[in-house]
Structure formats: structure tokens, C-alpha cells
């Protein structure tokens, strides 16, 4: 079972980094969102510093939506999806493996790039580390919740357009806890309640999202 899941993670990772896999796309989108914000807000450095963490979180949230439709869409198009059902492993674990590979190439780079982009928003040094940490803890929840949407829309034409509309409302709690946890960390409250709730959101979706996505994929087979 472990062998099958590791093989799937390895394949999806390899497909993502190969030409046409679109590995850098969410990152470039993240950069674009953060880069255009100062143009809209204006050259008020104090204001930028105050809203900076929120903008980074919104940017990361929107960026995780990029490429989410390919999570199952690519496998559905070439027929591999049918074969995923025949794995010697339970379907929730199979989809969890796919989510893990997807997060490694989308969520993880976002968290890693956040401090660099924070500089563009005039964030203080302590906030740079804080936002990277909260994104590292929060992006798994975003990917996993997004996976439910991806599974629900896999059989639909233009499902990729419906997907953000489905996923964004589910991601609102993660956004709230993410931003308030970052602000709490900057204010020097280490293990604050929002940080715990953010972690709970990630762990909760780690357990529930694979089951929900597997059920959605099963339901789409008709």
C-alpha cells in the first residue's frame, strides 16, 4: 500500500516539475497579486505594513486555486482516474497522496516565498517569519479543502470556473485564523488561540477532506 502511494506522489511530483506541469504558475500569480497591491493602495508605507500580512494571505489563498482543477482533471482526461480506483490502497489515502504532491509543488513554495514578498509590502522583520510560519501551517488546509472542490467538479465541463466559487467560502475560516495568528505572533503572543485554531483547521481537513473528496470522486462515476 505504501509503495503504491509513494509511487503516486513521485509521479505527480515528476509531472509537475516537467515541462508543461505548471509548477511555477501559482508562485508567479502570488507575486503578481502582491506586486499590484501597492499600486492600488498608494505609497503609504505605514498602511502597507499594517495590511501586509492580510494581503500575503489573500494572495496565497488565491494562488492555491490556480491549477487546482488539474489535480483530478488531468487524470480524468487521460483515463488514469479510473485506474486510481484499482489501487491496493483505500481511495481516501490515494487522494491524500495526490494532495500531498500537489501541496509540495504549490503550497510549500508559497510559504517559502512569502517573506521575500513581504519585503515589498514594508513588513517588519518579525512579521516576515510569522507569515511564513502561518502559511506553512495553513496552506495544507487550503490545498485539502480545494481538493474537495476539485473532486466535486471533476466530471463537469468548465468545472475549473466553478471551483473557486465552491472553494473560497470553505476557505474563509482558514483565512481568518491565518491572518489573526500572524498578527498575534507579531504582537509576541506565541501559542495564541488563532494559531491553535489554524492548526486545528489543517489537521481537521487532513482527516476529513480525503474522505469527502473520495466520496465525491465515487459519486462522479456514473
Amino acid at each position: 500500500m505504501t509503495r503504491a502511494l509513494l509511487a503516486l506522489i513521485r509521479r505527480d511530483f515528476r509531472l509537475a516539475v516537467r515541462a508543461g506541469g505548471g509548477v511555477g504558475l501559482p508562485l508567479v500569480f502570488f507575486l503578481s497579486v502582491v506586486a499590484v497591491t501597492p499600486f492600488a493602495i498608494g505609497p503609504d508605507m505605514k498602511l502597507l505594513a499594517r495590511v501586509g500580512t492580510a494581503i500575503l494571505w489573500i494572495g496565497a489563498l488565491l494562488s492555491t486555486l490556480i491549477g487546482l482543477d488539474r489535480l483530478f482533471g488531468a487524470d480524468a482526461e487521460d483515463g488514469s482516474l479510473d485506474l486510481l480506483f484499482a489501487a491496493p490502497a483505500p481511495l481516501p489515502l490515494v487522494v491524500l497522496a495526490k494532495a500531498a504532491a500537489h501541496w509540495t509543488v504549490t503550497g510549500l513554495p508559497l510559504a517559502a516565498a512569502a517573506p521575500l514578498l513581504g519585503l515589498m509590502l514594508n513588513l517588519p522583520p518579525e512579521a516576515l517569519g510569522a507569515v511564513a510560519l502561518t502559511l506553512l501551517l495553513g496552506t495544507p488546509a487550503l490545498t485539502l479543502l480545494g481538493m474537495i472542490g476539485a473532486a466535486l467538479t471533476v466530471g463537469l465541463r468548465r468545472g475549473g470556473l466553478l471551483l473557486p466559487v465552491l472553494v473560497l467560502p470553505m476557505a474563509v475560516p482558514v483565512l481568518i485564523f491565518g491572518v489573526s495568528a500572524t498578527n498575534a505572533l507579531v504582537a509576541g503572543e506565541g501559542g495564541s488561540a488563532p494559531l491553535m485554531l489554524l492548526l486545528a483547521a489543517s489537521l481537521g481537513s487532513l482527516v476529513l477532506a480525503p474522505v469527502a473528496a473520495a466520496a465525491a470522486l465515487k459519486g462522479a462515476q456514473s
Binding site: 513521485r10 509521479r11 515541462a19 482526461e77 487521460d78 488514469s80 485506474l83 480506483f85 456514473s222
Partner: protein, 201 residues
């Protein structure tokens, strides 16, 4: 290994595509399903593979490893090849060997068996339709599973490809495997059961 399906009834889009179909196959037996377009051949195979909800009826696999589900005893070969164009032919097959619980050292033999030994390191996206079909046939050889469900396996294959398919099936049946194939073409397999599905509605 025994595959039994009784009274299979499948609805798709509010229409009964299959009604009361029964299948019974023992070790080494093969069945060829024919019928006009829309008669439900693909639906039957997908239903047997457990990919479609049954409105009625049951499917059972007996004599296999009790720890494994019915789907884990089956190889499903659909209309689509399940080939990733960005990976090489060898990487594609090595993945399926690992994922479906096969022998990852057998990739070379499997590729040779379908006549793709020379193209092992080419990206699968550059292969022709027939070569991609051969690549998906190699998947059957690389992971041993007792029941093969083949939907139009002959699509895009040349005569050499058909011969290789026939010999893969022969080896599989000699080892006690079961085959259900839906097809329009004459596959030229020896001693097969036949099933003709009814008129399209």
C-alpha cells in the same frame, strides 16, 4: 478464480443501459462481448470493474485473496490509455507497476512484449496512437491481476499489435486468468465465450 455477475442492471442518465445481464467465467476462460454502438458494452465492463453504481444485481469474485477487494483483482483497460505524455514510456509503466502492486523489475520485459523496447526512453506524448495503446497493454503484463476487462483493446493496433495482444491474453489464460473483452473487431482468440448485447435504444 471465478467471476460471477447476476442480473446486472445499470442506469445512466435515467435510461436503463443494461438490464438483467449475467456473466459467469471460470479460470482460463475468456468472453468476447459484441453488439451495436450504444448496446452497453462499455457500460458492462465499467460496471464489472466497479466503476458504476448498480441499480440491481451483484458482482462477486471468488477464489482470490480474501484481503483484496474485487477491484484489486482486476485490470481495467478503457477507451483512454491512461498514458502521461510528459513521462517516458518506461516511467509510465514503472509507475503502474508500483501503483498496481506489480513487479517493477519486469518493466523491460513488459515493454518488449508489446514491441516498445526501442521506444522506452521516448516521452509517451511523442508516441503514436497505436503505440500508446501498446503502452497501456504493457500495463496488463507488468502487474499480475487475475481478471482483465478490456474495452476495445484492438483500437489503433496494427496486425503485429493484435498478435501481441492475442499472445498476452493466451499467456494470461494459461496462468488461469480471466478475460472479458468488448470489441467490434475480430480478435482471433481461441475458444472464447460470446455475448451479444441487444439493440441500441
Amino acid at each position: 478464480m471465478q467471476l460471477t455477475a447476476d442480473d446486472l442492471t445499470v442506469e445512466r442518465g435515467g435510461r436503463r443501459v443494461l438490464e438483467g445481464v449475467g456473466v459467469k467465467l471460470g479460470p482460463g476462460e475468456a468472453m468476447v462481448v459484441t453488439g451495436p454502438n450504444g448496446a452497453g458494452k462499455s457500460t458492462l465492463l465499467r460496471a464489472l470493474a466497479g466503476l458504476l453504481p448498480l441499480a440491481q444485481g451483484r458482482i462477486s469474485v471468488e477464489g482470490g485473496d480474501g484481503e483484496r477487494t474485487a477491484a484489486e483483482h482486476m485490470h481495467f483497460l478503457g477507451h483512454l490509455d491512461g498514458v502521461k505524455g510528459a513521462l517516458t514510456a518506461r516511467e509510465n509503466i514503472a509507475f503502474w507497476a508500483d501503483f498496481l502492486g506489480g513487479d517493477s523489475t519486469a518493466t523491460e520485459t513488459a515493454l518488449e512484449a508489446v514491441g516498445l523496447g526501442h521506444a522506452a526512453d521516448l516521452p509517451a506524448g511523442t508516441l503514436s496512437a497505436g503505440q500508446k495503446r501498446r503502452l497501456s497493454l504493457a500495463r496488463l503484463a507488468v502487474a499480475r491481476r487475475d481478471i482483465w476487462l478490456l474495452d476495445e483493446p484492438a483500437t489503433a493496433l496494427d496486425t503485429d499489435g493484435l498478435d501481441r495482444l492475442a499472445s498476452l491474453v493466451e499467456i494470461h489464460r494459461a496462468a488461469g486468468g480471466l478475460v472479458v473483452a468488448a470489441t467490434h473487431a475480430d480478435l482471433g482468440w481461441a475458444m472464447t465465450k460470446r455475448m451479444v448485447l441487444g439493440r441500441a435504444v
